[in-house]
Structures are given as C-alpha cells and as structure tokens.
C-alpha cells in the first residue's frame, strides 16, 4: 500500500507546488500508516529529485522517455496508472492546476477511483474517506465521501502549509509502458521573467474603477515593487484593457494568494468567488457600499488612481 503523488516539473525543476503536494501526501500517508511515493515524469536530474525527500517522500519513481516531452493526457494518464498499480497506491494526489485538471479525471476512470477535486485541507477521516471541498465556486463548501477503494485528490495551489521533514528516499528509474501518442504539440509560447498569477503570493488587481487600460502603470509599478502578479476583474478583460489570462473570478482564474489588493473593483459575487480564498484582501474603492469591503480585511474609501501612488511611496519606504 502507498500514497502516490504525481508532480510535474517546470523545465526540469520543481516548485513550491511540488513541495506542497509531497508534504500533503505524506500527511495522508501518516493517517493511513503507509509510505509516500512520488512520481516524476520527464527529464529531472537526480539532485533535483532528491529535494522531494525534504518533504517526507519515502520513495521516488522517475519516468523519463522522449515520448513524454509534451503532455499527452492519455499517455500521461496510463503512466500514472501503471505506477499507481505497481506501488499499490490507495490514494493518488495531483495538483489542481492545468495539468492536474487534465489528468485527474482520466485517471479516475482508468483506476475506477473517486475524484475529490480542489481539496485544501486533509481529509476529516480516512474511514470513511471524507474530504472537504469548495462548491458553487467558493460560495460554499461540501463534505464528500469517496467510496471507491482507490481515491484521487487534486490539491488547490497555495492552500497547504508544507513542512520540512527530511528523508533520504530511494530513487527508482522506471521504464513505463508508453502508449500511442495521438496529439502533436507545436509553437510553445511562454512568458519568461513574469510571476505567474497562480504562483504569486501577492496579487495586485485592477477593476473598472481604474477607468481605462492606459491607467495601469501604478498597478504594474506596485506589483513590481511587491514581487506580485497583476490581475483584473472581468469587465476589464472583456473591454480588452488587459488580457483574459489576467481575469480573476468565477469564470476566470481562481486564486489564493497571501495578499490580494483590489483597486477599483466593486466585488461582484462572481469576482469574490475567484479571490475569496486569499489570506488577506485589501480593497480600494470610491463606493463605501461596494461588496468588496465585505470580503476585505483592510479597506480605503477613495479613488484608486489617487491612492495607488501614495501606496507605492509607502512601500518604497519600507523596502
């Protein structure tokens, strides 16, 4: 028996999400009195793989093959399933990100394993296996029992405090059976040097109250100063002031940074659904009755365009 955790890599490196996953999996393994096995797919060097041992991985299985260079959901799913079966995993943990959302449902069918999508804390019990997850886009939560023998959980990003617990896991290079690749990937475009919205610990976000796309300089400057990502509300991306990748809210990105600064955002229920898991929310808005103040921890009533420059100055003073 084991708890299997799959982590992707980013150009051969792991990131915080990987350690959150391994740490989370090791806690479940403790609850089940079993070991934590990590699966890495792709070209990752041994010293990078060893880092996973810092978060209580007991064993690392590394699968590398040229056919796995690009993500083919079907092929990746069969590799994870093969390793899950080999390691007799009763729980499989995957990230609730683009790749995880693409693979977990397929794996659920392949292993006939119930899926708990987007968990943010440990199961309340393992017998019955009861998880706690957001529903209605964060307007509520539900307690869900997974009834199948094997369970699959996807873990929401930045939701679980990972802990160091150093072990020296054995690394096994495993030759998995690679099926037919039916998809072809080309023209990969990646922004470099920019903090990704989903990874960001701080997010500075603007709404219609910023009045036009030309007014974004203070948002960007503040973000730069704080090492934050930039985001926006739906009307802003609909108007084309900002790219739709920045839209946070129910139908855009759902994020959970440590600090979310909402400038000129009124806080429609759909917007709040996307940001309400943030650990601290600051709202700047001219309308004292704007719903954003109900979700916020700190608020200033005023015009964001006037307040942001002062904000920038004040941050400069402490940096």
């Amino acid at each position: 028996m084991s708890v299997l955790v799959f982590t992707e890599n980013w150009d051969g490196k792991f990131k915080k999400m990987s350690f959150e996953l391994v740490s989370y999996a090791s806690k479940i393994a403790e609850m089940l009195n079993t070991q934590t096995v990590v699966l890495s797919i792709g070209d990752v060097q041994e010293d990078e793989l060893k880092k996973l041992g810092n978060y209580a991985a007991d064993k690392i299985v590394s699968v590398n093959n040229d056919k796995l260079k690009n993500l083919d959901n079907q092929v990746y799913t069969s590799v994870i399933a093969e390793v899950a079966t080999k390691e007799e995993a009763t729980v499989v943990i995957i990230a609730q990100n683009n790749m995880g959302k693409a693979l977990a449902p397929r794996l659920s069918v392949k292993l006939k394993a119930g899926l708990g999508a987007g968990v943010s804390k440990l199961p309340a019990s393992v017998e019955p296996f009861t998880i706690f997850k957001k529903v209605y886009s964060g307007k509520a939560y539900s307690n869900v029992v997974i009834k199948s023998d094997v369970k699959i959980l996807t873990l929401a990003q930045n939701s679980f405090e990972f802990e160091e617990n150093v072990k020296s896991p054995a690394i096994e290079n495993f030759e998995a059976t690679i099926g037919d690749v039916k998809t072809t990937v080309s023209n990969v475009q990646k922004q470099t040097g920019k903090i990704l919205l989903n990874d960001a610990e701080i997010v500075v976000s603007g709404g219609r109250g910023m009045k036009s796309g030309e007014q974004w300089a203070p948002i960007e400057e503040l973000a730069e100063l704080l090492g934050a990502a930039t985001a926006c509300s739906r009307p802003v991306s609909d108007e084309g002031w900002r790219p739709h990748e920045e839209h946070t809210g129910q139908t855009g990105k759902i994020i959970a940074p440590n600090l979310y600064i909402a400038a000129g955002i009124s806080g429609a229920i759909q917007h709040l659904a996307g940001i309400s898991s943030s650990k601290c929310i600051v709202a700047i808005n001219t309308d004292k009755d704007a719903p954003i103040f109900e979700a916020a921890d700190y608020g200033i009533i005023g015009d964001a365009a006037k307040i942001l420059p002062d904000f920038i100055e004040a941050v400069k003073e402490i940096k």
Binding site: N70, N73, Q74, T77, N98, M99, K101, L103, P105, R106, L107, S108, V109, K112, A113, L115, A117, G118, K134, V135, Y136, G138, K139, A140, Y141, S142, V144, V145, I146, K147, S148, K182, T183, T184, S186, V188, Q189, Q191, N198, D199, L226, H244, E245, H247, L259, A268, I269, S276, C280, V282, A296, D297, Y298, G299, I300, D310, F311, A314, E317, I318
Partner: protein, 249 residues
C-alpha cells in the same frame, strides 16, 4: 463533422448559495437556471465554426444528464443554435456517473468533436470532459482557449503555466474549453426561440452506473471579521498593518 456539446444546467452565477434539509441539499427556491458559462462559450464557438461552410460541420448536438427541470436550459441551447438535444433522464450523482452516461450515449452515437466546459459552476469538479475521453479511450485536450478547423484538421490552443501551446489531435477528441474560446456567449434571437420549439429534444434512459463519491452535507463559509477601514490620507498606516499585523509584505 459532428459536434457534441456537454451541457450542465447550473444556478445563475449571481445566486447566493443556501441549503435545506439540514444542509444536505441546495435550496433551489427562486433560483434562475442557466447553461453553465463555459459550456455556453463552447456552444458559441461551435456555432461560429458551423457558420463557415468550409468547416463542413453537419450537426451540433447538446447533451445533458438531468431531470425534466433541465429542459428549459436545453431549449435555450437549441434557441441559440444547437440542432438537437439529448437528455439522459437521471439525476446527476457525481462526475463519474455523468461522464459514464454520456460516454455510453457516444458509444452508439459517434461524434468527431466533443466539447465540455472546464468546470461546472456548481460542483467545480473539472472532471466530466476528461472522464468521457478515458471511458472512450480517445484523446482529450484541456484548458482550450482557441480552436479552429483547417482542411478537416482541428487546431487547438491550450493554456499551460505561463503561456500557451498549439495542439493537433486525432479525431474524435474531447476539447475541454475555458475562457477565450469565444468572446461572448451568443444570445438567442426571436427566430431562434421560435425554431427551438420544433427542434428534437430526445430523452434517453440512463444505464446502471454506481457513483464513486457522495456529498454528505454542505457548509457556508464562516463570516469574515469586519473590514478595518483606513483613511485615504493614511496609506502609510495600511502598509504598516500589512507588514506588521497581517505579515503579508
């Protein structure tokens, strides 16, 4: 080419979540039901693609798993421009159950392109599309933000961490779509609404499938403490609170 769109009938996105029966059931009192927003974008893109004769799309079918109360939403999809609709007559138990029902339908009614929204606004499982693909052992592409057809070949752009990549796939394929796939959802015109009444809405019986998960109950989020207000001329104080009290900068 035939397109199938998996639709979910969900509460309007402005709905406040309330529960009844000891927090075991969603309170549907006064709720407006809509096509799940991502499914609506998928439908919009399918209609746009069909309007170009060069794409040779013969038919757009919408399918849902739900009770009779889902029919107004299906009629709405027909009014927007779907050609026919299928309702698998069962209460959706979980994503696995729903996907199994749709996969079963697809086994005897093949389609080339299957669309599903990246998640549903109710259970947020992001699951049905990928599950259907696995049941049928066909490719799936997730987080799709663009889709075109060229010489019978489907060209897809999907979002990856910090960027995009272009993907082509053998058909049939399940395309799991997100924001960007269509600009704005199409709205039904009066003519469409009239025509929708005559379009076929077929009801099929479900197959026996056991759900793998079960909701025990719901909880509402805990009320947040009141927002601490800071005077606009005291931005320094705010920054100091963020640094020393909240410890987030």
């Amino acid at each position: 080419m035939k397109i199938l769109i998996c639709l979910s009938n969900v509460p309007d996105t402005t709905t406040k979540a309330k529960f009844v029966n000891d927090n075991t059931a969603f309170d549907t009192t006064g709720v407006q039901w809509i096509i799940n927003p991502w499914d609506e974008l998928a439908l919009t893109r399918a209609i746009e693609l069909k309007s170009d004769a060069a794409n040779s799309i013969d038919n757009i079918t919408v399918i849902t798993v739900g009770g009779k109360d889902a029919e107004p939403t299906m009629r709405k999809a027909l009014a927007i421009g779907a050609d026919d609709a299928v309702r698998v007559d069962a209460e959706p138990k979980d994503a696995y159950y729903v996907a199994a029902q749709i996969a079963e339908y697809l086994k005897s009614n093949p389609f080339d392109l299957i669309f599903s929204g990246i998640e549903s606004a109710d259970y947020n499982g992001s699951a049905v599309g990928g599950m259907i693909a696995e049941f049928l052992n066909i490719p799936s592409i997730s987080a799709v933000s663009k889709m075109n057809i060229e010489n019978g070949q489907v060209n897809i752009t999907r979002e990856i961490d910090g960027g995009t990549e272009d993907v082509t796939s053998e058909l049939p394929v399940v395309s799991i779509v997100q924001k960007g796939i269509a600009k704005e959802p199409m709205i039904a015109a009066m003519r469409g609404i009239m025509m929708a009444r005559k379009k076929p809405l077929n009801v099929v019986a479900p197959v026996e499938i056991e759900a793998l998960t079960e909701i025990v109950n719901f909880e509402l989020p805990q009320a947040k403490p009141a927002c601490k207000m800071i005077e606009p001329e005291n931005v320094k104080e705010l920054v100091s609170l963020l640094q020393n009290e909240a410890k987030v900068i």
